[in-house]
């Protein structure tokens, strides 16, 4: 809740109503408490109310139990990150209370379950405390043997009261969520919700009301990054995929397995990562643009086959939902440390395309772009996202599906002759002719991992190897010419340029806004096409004294992260420096600004 709009707590009398433009709510409990469900309801409600929303969650790597949080930021204006500090903390347990109090803004509100939490008097001066017997009241409301299952929905009722949320809309959401289940489940959920909603009267001494959001042109939809990516692939015309389960990629494969049959397609669960990519490449060879995907370790396993697809020039989509590495690493935490393997992973010279969506909406559209690049240039495209973007929920303008959905079925019209590796094309690529296509010259192509001549037959000729290497490189240079360079956020000249990629776009932009509001000269540039890079970035860098590459990976042996290293090798510009971290959490706005300022002020790495 922005400072300007918050009012002082009134004492006694009816709860006071304050108008607010945004709120950050953190719900802390255990993973089986269903707190993700509350977050999901709030996010969906915000989307339907034309508000902006962004969520952030952590889950333990264990199957059951373990601390878990869900943070949701709802705003009537632009919401760029999940928020550095919470306005309201809902704590279910003592450990939730103690562990997350520090994430609450001074003067913020702590609502705790008095059945489980004993507040610390020391904190009561800094935070407004409201203790409610959430567990026992839930049991009372639902009755029966459910114990305190349903306290998440009870809590949703509390929040609905506190923020004056639209009750009929929430009731509708509850109905939709539990539709198809036992009627008693819906009844219990509604009972818990209303118990929470009415219970709060008289206990909350202040309630809030969001100011109306600006009317949007199209309705908003609400989903997480994994959903947006999976549905984007379907819109792009992808009808075949293969994969192996691994967190946090599995959601995409589950979605495609469930949804593709509706479109006449299929997604195959394979025995391992190598079989998965091989099956997808097989389907790609046969005329589809197929998808496989994984996270960290699985991507390592796929790299030999990826090299074949590059050599044989077969289209392919590989999704890498990054998590903390190396090895099994931090499976449920966010990191951006797979950029190197995405760009360079594999033996030999193996140019491939790497693109990185910047937010949930971008996951949808970049999936379509990836498919079109793969099909046009006969090349594997790696879509690199991360755990944070995969699981965070955002609301965005509904795409015009009639316009964006496409059919990419193979063309089997007979051809006169076909050279799969034609060296005479100016940009190194030509449309593929796939099995099932009659070739009137009687000369049929072989797709191969051996260095080959124009028809795909093996050759040991050094000249051909050099020409084919150049062909595989040239087509990506042609692609680079097609990519529209990213726009600088903020003035195109100044002191500091923050460069980012992937899920960090929001906090970086918010950092720019905050710094500029304080009078600092800061702009940002978000790179969505990592390999090949768009043309002209050197001109952007020339406009600034300092370029910080903000990324969630280690600073490496030489002091800059993975994109930082790539940009330095590409532009030989020593003012490009790293601003990195690997604590497994998304960047806070404050972290970015403090780190950038600290580096410049202390001059640790002088120009």
């Amino acid at each position: 809740m922005s400072e300007a709009t918050i009012s002082n707590p009134s004492s006694g009398g009816a709860p006071k109503i304050s108008k607010i433009s945004e709120a950050v709510i953190r719900i802390a409990g255990n993973s089986q408490d269903g707190i993700q469900a509350i977050g999901g309801f709030l996010a969906r409600l915000a989307g339907r109310s034309e508000q902006e929303v962004m969520t952030f969650m952590t889950i333990p790597a264990t199957i059951s139990g373990g601390a878990s949080i869900f943070q949701v930021r709802i705003g009537s204006g632009e919401v760029l990150s999940a928020g550095d500090e919470a306005d309201v903390l809902l704590a279910f347990y003592q450990h939730s209370y103690e562990g997350h109090l520090s994430s609450v803004k001074k003067g913020g509100m702590v609502v705790y379950d008095s059945d489980h939490v004993t507040p610390n008097p020391e904190f009561e001066k800094d935070y407004r405390h409201i203790g409610l017997p959430i567990s026992s009241r839930t049991v009372e409301a639902i009755g029966g043997t459910a114990k305190d299952k349903g306290k998440n929905i009870f809590t949703l009722g509390l929040l609905a009261k506190m923020f004056d949320l639209n009750v009929p809309k929430i009731e509708k959401l509850i109905h939709e969520r539990f539709t198809g289940k036992d009627e008693s489940i819906v009844k219990n959920a509604l009972a818990a919700f209303h118990a929470g909603y009415s219970f709060s009267v008289g206990h909350l001494y202040e309630t809030f009301q969001f100011i109306d959001a600006k009317q949007k042109d199209r309705p908003q939809i609400v989903m997480n990054g994994n959903e947006a990516l999976g549905l984007g692939l379907i819109a792009a015309g992808v009808r075949f995929g293969a994969g192996y389960p691994i967190t946090p990629w599995s959601d995409i494969m589950e979605l495609l397995r469930r949804e593709l049959p509706k479109y006449g397609g299929m997604f195959i669960q394979c025995e391992d990562e190598i079989a998965s990519i091989s099956m997808a490449i097989g389907a790609g060879y046969a005329g589809k643009v197929a998808v496989t995907g994984s996270s960290g370790p699985g991507i390592s396993l796929k790299t030999e086959a990826l090299g074949w697809a590059i050599m044989a020039e077969v289209p392919l989509i590989v999704v890498d939902v990054q998590r903390g590495g190396p090895s099994t690493g931090m499976p449920t935490n966010v990191e951006q440390s797979d950029l190197n393997i995405a760009c360079y992973g594999g033996h030999g010279d193996s140019p491939r395309v790497v693109i990185a969506p910047a937010n949930v909406e971008d996951c949808f559209y970049m999936a379509i772009e990836a498919v079109n690049i793969a099909k046009k240039y006969n090349v594997p495209v790696i879509i690199i996202t991360d755990q944070a973007i995969a699981t965070r929920i955002e609301a965005f303008e509904e795409p015009n599906l009639e316009k964006v959905c496409q059919d990419i079925s193979p063309d089997l019209t007979p051809v006169a002759d076909y050279k799969p590796y034609d060296l005479s094309t100016p940009d190194g690529y030509n449309p593929r002719v796939v099995p099932g296509t009659r070739i009137m010259s009687g000369k049929y192509p072989i797709a191969t991992g051996l260095e080959h001549d124009e028809y795909g037959h093996p050759t040991g000729s050094p000249q051909l190897h050099m020409k084919m290497n150049a062909k595989r490189r040239k087509k990506l240079q042609a692609l680079a010419n097609e990519i529209v360079p990213p726009k600088v956020y903020g003035p195109s000249e100044g002191n500091v340029l923050l460069v980012g990629w992937g899920s960090t776009e929001g906090p970086i932009r918010e950092a720019v806004d905050r710094a500029r509001a304080a009078g600092d000269s800061v702009s940002s540039l978000h790179i969505r096409h990592i390999s090949p890079l768009p043309n002209g970035l050197e001109e952007v860098f020339a406009g600034f004294n300092h370029v910080f590459v903000v990324e969630m990976n280690d600073e490496g042996l030489y002091g800059y992260g993975q994109l930082g290293g790539l940009l330095r090798s590409r532009y030989c510009d020593p003012k490009i420096r790293g601003l990195t971290k690997t604590d497994g959490l998304t960047f806070k706005v404050k972290e970015i600004l403090d780190r950038a300022k600290g580096t410049i002020a202390t001059g640790i790495r002088k120009l």
Binding site: P261, G264, C270, S278, K288, W308, G436, R438
Partner: protein, 315 residues
């Protein structure tokens, strides 16, 4: 969003000249001349030549069309196969030809799909893929040219090398128990398992035809001598070299799994023919069934309308 790359170039520039025959026409069987491509790189006397010659014969006899044949292989001497066949084909990476071929089989049921490989591909680096392709019963024919040795890399022990075989990696003789291919294939769930040898070409052709006609994952283990690194390995199965070639008895019930294991347990040279053959729904059919049911629910909606229905639930 900015800059989606949309247009993909049309195929117009390479479209066929005038007389493009329509599909569905009658065509003569392709002759060896029409279907042979590169000259094989195999050593003179290699057993693999027979398999290639009989593949040509199969294509001619069964009147398969160029464009409908897809030949796939992994890595090894035998896996050079696709280069020698004038048809669509792919030479994939070591051990992974089966999942690659599965991608073709499942997405393009209109093609005749043949996979060729050696014992290293099938039982060493790609062992687990054999198990899973068999268990899923993905429709394709897989011919394993088993020579009991790594030939392309010049005589190392293979997973089927018999105990005591002297190779560059076992100079004192192989010490590891060899795989029994037939037992492994049957237990993995392959629905057609046959055994043959390159020295009996009629039998080899019969097995290839039966494998092709089988609706499911059909596997043939075919002994194919490496004259360079394991000369005489299969003499005991070759009547011309004093051995004996015995067929699976006519009384053998091919659907009897235990009887098949018994056959597979016989010491070399054992019996030749179909050990095991059952009908089980293919992965191809099971997936089509899932698709049909899903499409029934969707009704006459266009794809974008189906997606719209999903989006409506995300509002």
């Amino acid at each position: 969003m900015s800059n989606p790359i949309t247009e993909t170039p049309a195929r117009a520039s390479i479209l066929a000249a005038p007389a493009v025959p329509t599909l569905g026409e009658e065509r003569k069987g392709l002759t060896k001349k029409e279907v042979a491509a590169d000259h094989p790189t195999w050593c003179p006397g290699c057993g693999d030549f027979s398999v290639l010659a009989l593949y040509f014969k199969l294509i001619e006899k069964r009147k398969l069309w160029h464009e409908k044949i897809t030949t796939v292989a992994g890595i090894g001497c035998s896996s050079r196969f696709p280069y020698f066949v004038q048809a669509h084909g792919a030479h994939y990476i070591h051990g992974r030809a089966l999942p690659f071929a599965s991608g073709i089989s499942l997405s393009r049921p209109d093609l005749h799909l043949f996979v060729f490989g050696g014992d290293g591909d099938a039982f060493s680096i790609g062992g687990n893929h054999v198990n899973h392709t068999a268990r899923k019963n993905i429709k394709m024919s897989y011919l394993i040219m088993d020579n009991w040795v790594y030939g392309l890399t010049k005589k190392q022990t293979s997973p089927t090398s018999p105990l005591g075989f002297k190779s560059k990696t076992d100079i004192w003789g192989a010490v590891d128990q060899p795989i029994n291919p037939m037992k492994q294939l049957i237990s993995a769930g392959a629905t057609f398992v046959a055994r043959t040898t390159t020295t009996n070409v009629n039998h080899l052709l019969q097995m290839m035809e039966q494998a092709m006609d089988h609706d499911g994952f059909s596997v043939i283990e075919c002994f194919s001598e490496c004259v360079e690194f394991y000369e005489g390995a299969f003499d005991a199965s070759n009547p011309r070299k004093g051995g004996k070639f015995e067929l699976v008895p006519e009384t053998h019930d091919v659907t009897d799994e235990m009887a098949a294991y018994k056959l597979a347990d016989e010491p070399f040279p054992g019996k030749f023919g179909v050990f095991y053959k059952v009908n089980r729904p293919t992965k191809n059919a099971l997936e089509q069934n899932i698709i049909c049911k899903a499409r029934e629910k969707v009704g006459a909606k266009k794809d974008w309308e189906t997606l719209q229905a999903t989006f409506n639930r995300l509002k």
